[in-house]
């Protein structure tokens, strides 16, 4: 006996607003960008289909290659500094009592500050005349200048990002550490494990899930960094802190090269998508691996 039941169609109507929103906020702009990337547009009436020419142009763009390389180095540097630092911070944070809450609030403070304000703070902080950091480095005999020296500028942006975002990593790791049942620590004490062994064989494996999230978040975020270097250095000196998104803005808004800019943003989009995909799959695999271990609450 087969009885076909009326399937409730109401749900589709409920999804409709989201579909419309996504269409207007994502699909339509994306299609516009695709449109721009394939044509040379002089005015609404005069447009020429150029095929993949813009893409070819962008792919040969030396400056773009430099920006991409700079971007990758920067993101990798962000990860290598922030992840271990965040873990160390999390391990050092008190686990219980009012001290724990107090430290949590203090650690989270920098996360509450908007991007452009972070840039402004460091802009002043790093000045050699009135900034605490800049003046101090000068006093100590370093010829520090984030406006004149490319390396200094690059390092300042990195430090700024570390200052701003390491707490996020720390908070995630802290949450991961708190979810480890006490029995593990007790068992380790009974097994005679050293502090390092506890970290290596209990804490690190149990934090793997949250660490993956931290890596993903920090990678994506730093890959799209824009506001802070823009406020601090405007991408300079030279091109030292011109990262991908800023380069793109220069192309599109500054030089009004809409064709190449559109082609480039599509490539940018694909790069992020690809990296997301790789990281996500990696996370999934690691996630299922550690799943059995993490469900003993």
């Amino acid at each position: 006996m087969i009885t076909t039941k009326p399937v409730n169609q109401k749900a589709w109507w409920l999804v409709l607003p989201v579909v419309i929103c996504v269409a207007f906020s994502a699909v339509l702009p994306l299609m516009t960008v695709v449109n721009y990337s394939l044509q040379d547009i002089f005015s609404p009436e005069r447009r020429v289909f150029v095929g993949t020419e813009w893409f070819a142009l962008v792919m040969r763009d030396e400056e773009l290659h430099a920006a991409l390389w700079r971007q990758l180095t920067f993101s990798l540097a962000v990860l290598t500094v922030e992840i271990p630092l965040g873990i160390m911070l999390a391990l050092a944070m008190p686990a219980k009592g009012w001290k724990s809450s107090a430290v949590l609030v203090v650690v989270a403070l920098s996360l509450l500050i908007p991007w452009n304000v972070v840039g402004t703070i460091w802009q002043i902080f790093g000045r050699t005349d009135i900034g605490l950091l800049g003046a101090m480095l000068q006093e100590m005999g370093y010829d520090y200048s984030y406006t004149g020296n490319g390396t200094h500028a690059w390092l300042t942006v990195l430090t700024m990002d570390v200052w701003h975002w390491t707490p996020l990593v720390a908070l995630l790791c802290f949450a991961g550490l708190r979810s480890i049942p006490d029995a593990y620590y007790q068992a380790a004490r009974i097994d005679g494990a050293s502090k390092f062994a506890v970290f290596r064989y209990i804490q690190l494996p149990k934090m793997r899930g949250v660490l993956m999230i931290a890596v993903l978040l920090r990678f994506m975020d730093s890959f799209m960094i824009y506001t802070e270097p823009f406020v601090l250095t405007g991408g300079g000196p030279g091109n030292a802190t011109t990262f991908l998104s800023q380069y793109l803005t220069q192309k599109a808004v500054g030089q009004f090269d809409l064709g190449p800019a559109a082609a480039f943003s599509l490539i940018y989009f694909l790069i992020i998508l690809l990296l997301c995909f790789i990281l996500y799959n990696w996370m999934q695999r690691v996630g299922t691996d550690s799943k059995e271990g993490s469900d003993h609450e």
């Binding site: 049942p181 593990y184 009974i190 097994d191 494990a193 064989y201 003993h296």
Partner: protein, 358 residues
């Protein structure tokens, strides 16, 4: 291996005033070298607190813990050289089974060839030999718990192995196999084993001596037989056996025993004190007797449940409910029948202030 002597009390509060402030009321207990013990009681009775004090994970708020007459109260679990197995399997996810078993030995810097030998032996004993090279994280719960167990047994010189409800996460049909394994291990290694559980079957099966605990107090230490036949405290009668012992308020007045308004002669050879008492009789020992038997109460059957292997009767005598467990060979009365329950016999116990009268 060691004999363990406890003379302790523990309170999680700073200045304990009354009994309720104590997680563990002042208590003395001696665990013989090579014995198998169980601490049995409902959750919150203090059994895990006591275990953690023995292992050194917790320092008692007062008193001493001695291993072979040496005071170890201030020593860490490592220094006491104790092994403990927890309720949930604790395994090191990233290691193989072999590395997990070797971990306590490596931490103690045992030579690698000896480690290998010892791990092989323990794996053999726990039937883990085939899985030594697998990653521990991908095993089933019972195999994981065997690894935890193995890490406890792998050290040849442990003072005692403590178990904190180790079979909670094990499938029922695998439980008895692990229980047997534990029994065999105790047989072979003659280790001092102390086992905490709320499950009477586990406690009575595993241990030679069971300590029954309630509200931070030990109410009886004894063999399964003693706990079942002669519960020293009404709590033991209630807790051991399913269903637990029947307790009927009684009174001794001028050499007569009065239960639910019915008068009986005092049981021969017993010297029951005058006044209020409780009569305790296990449902297994309640008998169906002829009407007006000198040891029986008339009851109205309110429930007659065929529980397969037995028939479980509930009889109402006034406002007292008495349970009886009959063998299926007997003819069981039906609901609403009035029958006579024999409650006075060699298995009947009497209690005053919840304590057994001799």
């Amino acid at each position: 291996m060691a004999r363990i002597d406890l003379d302790i009390a523990h309170s999680y509060r700073a200045n304990p005033q009354q009994d309720e402030d104590y997680a563990l009321l002042p208590l003395k207990m001696s665990f013989a070298d090579g014995g198998a013990y169980a601490l049995l009681g409902p959750s919150g009775c203090g059994k895990t607190t006591m275990l953690n004090i023995m292992s050194g994970l917790l320092a008692p708020s007062s008193g001493t813990v001695k291993f072979d007459d040496i005071d170890v109260t201030q020593l860490s679990p490592q220094q006491r050289n104790i092994a403990q197995v927890f309720q949930f399997p604790v395994i090191y996810d990233t290691m193989t089974v072999a590395d997990n078993l070797a971990f306590p030995l490596r931490n103690r810097k045992m030579p690698e060839d000896q480690i290998k030998k010892r791990v092989g032996e323990v794996a053999e004993m726990l039937e883990l030999s085939g899985q030594l090279d697998q990653r521990a994280a991908n095993l089933a719960a019972d195999a994981k718990q065997k690894i935890s167990l193995g890490r406890g047994l792998v050290r040849p010189d442990v003072s005692a192995v403590l178990f904190d409800e180790p079979l909670t996460v094990i499938d029922p049909h695998l439980k008895w196999q692990l229980r047997r394994k534990l029994k065999q291990i105790h047989h072979e290694l003659k280790l001092t084993l102390i086992y905490v559980t709320h499950d009477q079957v586990e406690a009575l099966t595993f241990a030679d001596q069971v300590m029954v605990m309630t509200r931070g107090r030990s109410v009886q230490v004894g063999s399964a037989d003693a706990l079942f036949e002669r519960p020293q405290h009404t709590f033991v009668g209630h807790f051991i056996g399913s269903p637990g012992m029947n307790f009927l308020p009684a009174q001794v007045d001028d050499q007569t025993l009065v239960v639910a308004g019915h008068k009986f002669g005092l049981p021969p050879g017993s010297a029951l004190p005058e006044g209020e008492l409780k009569l305790g009789i296990r449902p297994e020992y309640v008998t169906l007797t002829a009407a007006d038997d000198r040891t029986a109460l008339p009851v109205n059957i309110t429930q007659a449940l065929d529980i397969g292997t037995h028939v479980l009767l509930t009889g109402q005598c006034g406002d007292l409910a008495i349970k009886a467990r009959l063998s299926p060979d007997q003819h069981a009365p039906a609901c609403g029948d009035t029958v006579w329950f024999g409650v006075l016999g060699s298995h009947t116990c009497f209690y005053k202030n919840e304590e057994l009268l001799p």
